[in-house]
Amino acid sequence: MSVSDSEPGLLTRLRRSDLWYSFTRNKAAMVAALLLALLITTAFAAPWITPQNPFDPAQLDLWNAELPPIWMQGGQWPYLLGTDNQGRDILSAILYGSRISVIIGISTVVLSLAIGISLGLIAGYFGGITDNLLMRLGDVLLSVPTILIAILVSAIARTMLPPGLREVGAGAVLVLAITLSAWVQYARTVRAQTAVERRKEYVQAARLLKVPSRRIMLHHILPNTLTPILVAATLNFGMAILTEATLSFLGIGMPPSQPSLGTLIRFGNQYLFSGMWWMVVFPVLQLSLLVISVNVLGDWLRDALNPKLR
């Protein structure tokens, strides 16, 4: 999500930029960035820093089931946040789960960026019937609530896929299901900007020089549309994680064999009345921190990149 990974030798330029200045002046954004970095690092480092692999049955011990967090009566090292009814370490499960949630979130953003930007460029650059068709398609997709589309797509995929593929393909199905309505926003933004840029002199000059359309779109116009896209992508990353968690919570997302945070909350929710609050509260906390830090960053980015607010 950071601005720094697109061009080489960027560190000094970044440090002198307005964006960096605004970042260092905004405590909330800095805290959120640190938190997000921490959450993502620990999620990807899960196999090396957790006391057990929570999904390897050989490592589970029923004697250690239903342990409360370590600071409570009966808590046991190394189960910092307690264990579930099968002796699974909650902290390990949460870190592994975050990894799945983050991967799905990133894949969704990347895929919808790719689709949205290409279709937006094509629609805005060529105009006419293509433009009309693509944008009407977007209108229809937005006239059905996003969550409903995602649920229907993953429900249908589950019915259509052969049973052997259902668990393996669950992640891919979720990415597709969320992308299906997420690309529209990017396409609209890029299209609007492209339609404006197309008429500018530098594009006309490039056309006269017979630069291929593809090159004009990708190298000349696209860089000028990236600012609003960056904000949308950040906020969309949070939205994708939330939608994935919601679907998994409803039982039509990630299967129990590879649980995301939503799946963990679904398990925990079933034990809500048995007093094992740690099974649900900690995954909820992790999911909330993840999405809140993304949204705080996105909010700051929107204000920082908005020339009207400077």
Binding site: S143, A155, I156, G238, L272, V281, I292
Partner: protein, 323 residues
């Protein structure tokens, strides 16, 4: 105006036809409907008879037209799971969802508007910035998380409110209401609050943005210069000019709330359309899924169209902008 009206209605009709096409494709091609309705003892001849009776041997185009015509009359076929008319199943659940959604909307307005006004008037003060920050948290928390936390605090720990079900209901004609019995009123509090949470933050942020705009305008400056008390300036003069967008957003979001209610309904086991839909998804009960998609989209599209038309009636400039 009439041209605009026709255009807007035609637009809505096209969207609904496409949604119906989606529902039809799901209904017809996700699994074989006949396979869902028969058992092992059914002979081949009986299956063919059933296929003919359901009209599945006709050309696909004809089937689609029939599907649309039937749907327009509220006939979505028979549920695979409990062999009842889909329309009746949904009609039974409709009041529960609507009561939940309307109460959540009401809560979001009653709480969100004052919060928005306060954060706009006292911009920069600590509690206003704090509320603004809290609203980001409100947007970030998924509704099922809020539901679970509410249950954990108010049902499990404190034991004040019921965590699931709708309580006792009273039947008025075809409508059932839980609002007239004490247990029904207790039962609706938690789900309605959980559902309204996101909406509260939306209303609050919208009112704040609009208020900041209006407070800069000349008529507010003039009212202040004239010595009108601040309270009147804020709540009578400024707030009134902010309400139009709030009403629009609220009306448009009722459709989204109905869709989102399915999450809240699952958490609280609230017997509404959403819970019916989720159960249909788990049992691959295709007719119920298709019907739910069409009905919710219809409400969604109808509300958007009505808001657009209402706007065009109020503000003639928009008629040209659209056409």
């Amino acid at each position: 105006m009439i041209v605009f009206l026709i255009k807007r209605l035609a637009n809505a009709a096209v969207v609904m036809l496409i949604v119906a096409l989606m529902a039809f494709v799901i209904f017809r091609f996700v699994g074989d409907p006949v396979e869902f309705m028969v058992n092992e003892q059914t002979t081949l001849a009986e299956r063919e008879a059933l296929r003919a009776r359901l009209g599945l041997d006709e050309p696909v185009m004809v089937q689609y037209v029939k599907f649309v015509l039937n749907a327009a009359q509220g006939d979505f076929g028979i549920s695979y799971r409990n062999q009842q008319s889909v329309m009746r199943l949904i009609a039974e659940r409709f009041p529960a969802t609507m009561e939940l959604v309307l109460l959540a909307t009401l809560i979001s307005l009653v709480v969100g508007i004052p919060l928005g006004v306060i954060t706009a008037i006292h911009r920069g003060r600590w509690f206003s910035e704090g509320l603004q920050f809290l609203s980001i948290i409100g947007v970030s928390l998924p509704s099922f998380v809020i539901g679970i936390l509410l249950i954990l605090v108010f049902a499990v720990t404190l034991g004040w409110l019921p965590a699931f079900g709708r309580g006792e209901v009273v039947r008025i004609g075809w409508w059932t209401t839980g609002l007239l019995t004490p247990s029904g009123r207790m039962a609706i509090i938690l789900p309605a609050v959980a559902l309204s949470f996101y909406q509260i933050t939306l209303v609050m942020r919208l009112v704040r943005a609009e208020m900041l705009e209006v407070l800069r305008s000349d008529f507010v400056k003039f009212a202040r210069a004239r010595g009108v008390p601040a309270r009147l300036v804020h709540y009578r003069h400024a707030l009134r000019n902010c309400l139009m967008p709030v009403v629009t957003m609220t009306a448009m979001n009722i459709g989204a709330l109905i869709a989102f209610a399915l999450v809240t309904e699952t958490v609280f086991q609230w017997p509404g359309m959403g819970l019916l839909f989720i159960q249909a998804v788990t049992f691959a009960d295709i007719p119920v899924m298709a019907a739910y998609l069409v009905i919710v989209s219809f409400i969604f599209v109808a509300l958007n169209t009505m808001v657009d038309i209402a706007y065009a009636i109020i503000d003639p400039r928009l008629r040209d902008a659209h056409s």
